[in-house]
Amino acid sequence: MSPLATALFGLAVLAGAVGLAAILTWFERRLLGVWQDRYGPNRLGPLGILQVVADMLKLLTKHDWVPPFADRVVFVFAPTAIVVAMLLGFAVVPFGEHLYLLDLNIGLLFFLGMTSLAVYSVLLGGLASNNKYALLGGLRSAAQMVSYEVFMGLSLMGVVMLTGSFSLRDIVLAQQDLWFCIPQVLGLYVFLVAGIAESHRLPFDLPEAEHELTAGFHTEYGGMKFAMFMLGEYLGLILICCMITTVFFGGWLGPWLPGPVWFALKTSLLICFFVLLRAAIPRPRYDQLMSLGWKYMLPLSLFNLVLTGAIALWLRGA
C-alpha cells in the first residue's frame, strides 16, 4: 500500500474503532436488555441508536472538573493513556489478507505490550484521584493485571509454537487447514479469561466494582475524562475480540465471503459473547479472582504449553 493509502487506512481504522466503541455503548445496553428481559435504551432515534449521540453530548457538555485534592497533571494524563495504548494495539491487527497497517514480526508481542500499557492509565488514574475508593480500585487493577498478564502471554505461546512466528499474519495463514481454537482449546480458554480480566469487564471489573468501591479508579472522573476511560475500555474489548479472532478463529479466513467480512463477523460474535458473559456471570470476590489466576489459569497455561510443545516435537519427529 502507498503511504497515502496507509495513512487513509490508518485513519479509517482509528475512526472505525472509535466509532464502533461508541456504538458498542448503545449496542451492549440493548443486548443486555434483550437477555435481561427488558428494553434498554430505545427512545432516541431508530431502536434508540441516537442514545449514543445523546450520551456524547452529555459527556461533552459536562463540567470539566479536576478535584482540588488530586494530582492535576497525572489526573488529566491518565485517561488519555488508555485510549492511545488501545488504539495503537489496532495497528497490528490483520483485518484481511492484505488489509492491515503493520505486519510486525513481533505483532503478538506488540499487542501484549500495548494492553499492558493500558494498566498504567487505570493505576495512575486511581492514584492521582487521591481518594480512597480510587486508590483501592487502582491497587486492585495493578494486582489483577500483573497476575493475568503472565498467563495471557503464556496462553498465546502454544499458538506461536505451532506457527513458529509472532507475526499475526503468519498466525492467520497457519490456520488455513484448522483454526487454532481446536488444537489450542485450552489456550483459547485461558486467553479468553485473561482477556476479560485485561479489559476489566464484568465479571472481572473489580477495579471498578460499583457495589463496593463507588466507581473504583474513576470515582473522581467526570465529563470527557470519564468518557475516555469508557472509550478505552470498549476499545480494549474490541481489540481483545479482534485478537481472539486472529489468533484462534482464523482471522479473515472463510469461504464465499470476502476476508474482512468474515473478520468482522467473527469479531462481532465474540463481542456478543463478551456481553453475554457480562449479562450472565456475577462478579467474583477479589481473593477468588486471584486464586483463579494463580492456582488454575497459570498451571493450565503451563500445561497447555508443555503439551503443545510435546505434540509439536512429536509431530516434527514423526
Partner: protein
Amino acid sequence: MLKSLRSQLTTLWTILSHTFTRAETVQYPEQKPYLAPRYRGRIVLTRDPDGDERCVACNLCAVACPVDCIALQQDVREDGRWYPEFFRINFSRCILCGMCEEACPTNAIQLTPDFEMCEYDRNNMVYEKEHLLIDGPGKYPDYNFYRVSGLAISGKDKGEAQRELPPIDVKSLLP
C-alpha cells in the same frame, strides 16, 4: 473447578435462551403498570369511617422510620381526641419502606400505589399534614380506633367502646 465451569456454562445458556423471551418491563410513561393496592408508594394519612382524622400522634411511625423522615407533634383537641398538631414527612429522605404503616396502631398512615412525586425543588418534597391527609379510610374501611380504645372522647363516654362494661359506680355496695 469442572463443576463450576459447568454451572457457568448452564448460566450462559439460560441467559442466551432469554434472547427469545418477551421483555417484562413496560414502556412506562405511555403504558402504566398495574400496581397492587399494597404497593409502597406515596404516604397518606387516612380518616375514620366517621370522617375524623385517624392519626392519634402516638409517634410510633416516627420512631419506626429508619431514615427519621417523619416528625410530628401531638396535641389534644377539645373533644378529647389526640391529634397531630403538625405532621411532616420529608419525602426527599423517605425510602418508602412501609415501616411506618406497619407500626401504625390506628391504620392512619398508609402507603399508596403512587410513586410519581418528582419535584424540581427539594423543598416541595416536604409534605405537611394538609398534603398528607386524604378524605377516606384507605385500605381499612371499617377500623375506628376510638371505638376500641378506652379513652373517652366527646360522643363516646367511658364504657361505650366495643366490649366495654358501663363505668363502675364506686359508691355502690352491690357485689
